[in-house]
Symmetry: C2
Subunit: 264 residues, 2 copies
C-alpha cells in the first residue's frame, strides 16, 4: 500500500533491483549454494473484486493444456504445463478475496496472424480485464524451417492490427506484452541461425508495447540471466519451450510485470 | 545459512510466526485488500547435488495426474493438479544447481494399507532421499460412506508398519508426514459427521511423525486459517480436494516444512 504513492519510475527501479538475484557458487563440501530468481516482495495486492485474465500465444503459452478443458478457467488441465499454471496458482493462492478467472488460449504453432483468425472466440468473447500476449517465436522460426514468408515487418503490422481491433472492442483492457525469447544454445539451433535476425522481432514487440502503453515482460533477460546459473538443458532444452524450472522463472517474471498494473 | 545454528525450537517458532499472515479487509472503494499466506523468506537453500523427492498419498496428492506419465519425474502431467505441482515448480525454479527429481505416486482412494500393497514399486524402487506422505482421509471417510471397517487404531498400526519397512530399506530417508485434513463446511458433509471422530486420525499421524522423527506439515491449520479469509468453496469445495488456490496454500505450507530439513 505504501507503494501506491510511489511514482512509476520508482516502482520500475524497485522491480529492476529485485527481479533477478543471482548467487555465486560456494564451496560447501557436497552441498551447493542455490540460486534464486525472486519475486518482488509484496504481501498485498490491490485487485478489483472481479478480474478476468487471458493468456494468449503459441506453444510456449499452450504448454500442452488439455483440449477437453479448452473453455475452462482456473483448472490445472486447462492452464497447461508452462508458465501460466505457476503464475495463476500464485495469484489464486494469494488473492482469495478477488474473484479471479484465468484462461489459457495459447495454441501451439501460432503466429500473430493466426491469433487474429481466432480472436473473436478466443479473446473478445472472454472480455478479459487483463490480456497477456506472448507471440513471435514462430513468426521467425517458421521462416527458417517451414518456408513461412512472413517478416519482422509483417509481424509488427499484424500485431498492431490485432491490438487496434482489441482496443476498439475492449477499450479498458490492460495489456501485457511478453517478449518473445530464444534461449541461447538450445537444440533448435538457437544462436547460429537465430541471432541477430530474431532480435528484429523482439524489438518490434517492445516498440508495440511502448506505443500501446502495455506492460512489458522481459523474458529474454530472464533466460539470459538464468544461463549464468545453469545450462540451457536445465531451463529450456530446445531453446523455445521451457522446462518446469524455466516455466517457474517465467511465472515469476510475469507476476513482477502484473504487479506493475494499477487497477485504481 | 545463519539459521543452521539455531535450535530446532527456534526454527519452529520462526516458522510459526511466518507461515500464515492474514490481513484484514480495508475499505478501498471497489478494491479489496488481499490476504496472503506467505512462504518463509529465504533466498538460498542448501540442497545436496542429487535429490530425489517422492510424494505419496491418496487423491489429494494424486490430483488427477496423467497415468501415461505414471513413471515420469518433473513433468506437469505426471505431477498432477494439486499441491505437488506448485511445490515442485518452486523447487525447480529456485534450485537450478541441484539435480532434483520429483515423483508423484499418490493414487485416488488409497488408504494406508493400500500404500503398503504398492510400496515396493511406488516407493522402495524409487529410493527417495525425501519421502512425503499424506494419507488418512480415506481411512476415516470410507468408514462413513463405503462400509470400510478400519479404525484410527488400525490406521496407526498400518502406518507404523509402513514406516518400519521403509526405514529398514531406506535407513537415511528424510521423512515428511503431512497432516490429513478436512476443511470445515465442505460438501462431503465435513463438520457434522467428521468432527471430532476424524481428529483421532490426525492425532495418530502427528504422534507417528514425532515418534519417527519426521517433519510435520500442519495442513489442518493452513485451511482453518484460510477459512477466516475466504469460504470453503474458494479453497476446497468438498472439504477434501483443494482448488488451485487451496493447492497453492498447501504447497507453501509443504515448502516451509521442507525447508526445515537439514541435508548436512
Amino acid at each position: 500500500m505504501k507503494n501506491e504513492k510511489s511514482t512509476p519510475s520508482d516502482r520500475r527501479s524497485f522491480l529492476k533491483k529485485t527481479t533477478v538475484a543471482s548467487v555465486g557458487v560456494l564451496g560447501l563440501g557436497n552441498l551447493q549454494a542455490q540460486s534464486v530468481i525472486s519475486k518482488k516482495e509484496k504481501t498485498t495486492r490491490e485487485l478489483p473484486k472481479d478480474l478476468t485474465i487471458l493468456f494468449q500465444g503459441d506453444s510456449v503459452t499452450d504448454g500442452g493444456r488439455k483440449r477437453d478443458q479448452y473453455y475452462a478457467n482456473n483448472t490445472w488441465g486447462g492452464l497447461g504445463g508452462s508458465y501460466v499454471f505457476p503464475a495463476v496458482s500464485e495469484l489464486l493462492g494469494s488473492n482469495p478475496t478477488s474473484n479471479i478467472r484465468c484462461y489459457n488460449r495459447g495454441i501451439s504453432g501460432d503466429k500473430v496472424f493466426q491469433l487474429s483468425n481466432r480472436w473473436e472466440e478466443d479473446c473478445l468473447q472472454i472480455r478479459p480485464d487483463v490480456l497477456s500476449i506472448l507471440i513471435g517465436v514462430n513468426d521467425f522460426w517458421h521462416t527458417l524451417d517451414f518456408n513461412y514468408k512472413g517478416t519482422a515487418k509483417s509481424y509488427e503490422e499484424d500485431f498492431r492490427k490485432l491490438l487496434d481491433r482489441t482496443r476498439k472492442e475492449l477499450p479498458n483492457v490492460k495489456l501485457i506484452i511478453c517478449e518473445p525469447f530464444a534461449v541461447k544454445g538450445g537444440s533448435a539451433i538457437v544462436e547460429e541461425k537465430w541471432f541477430p535476425a530474431f532480435i528484429a522481432y523482439q524489438n518490434a514487440a517492445k516498440k508495440i508495447a511502448s506505443d500501446y502503453n502495455a506492460h512489458w515482460v522481459p523474458f529474454q533477460k530472464t533466460f539470459d540471466d538464468a544461463l549464468k546459473i545453469a545450462p540451457v538443458d536445465y531451463w529450456c532444452a530446445d531453446g523455445v519451450h521451457p522446462s518446469l524450472g524455466g516455466g517457474e522463472l517465467m511465472a515469476k517474471t510475469w507476476l513482477n510485470t502484473f504487479d506493475e498494473i494499477s487497477f485504481k
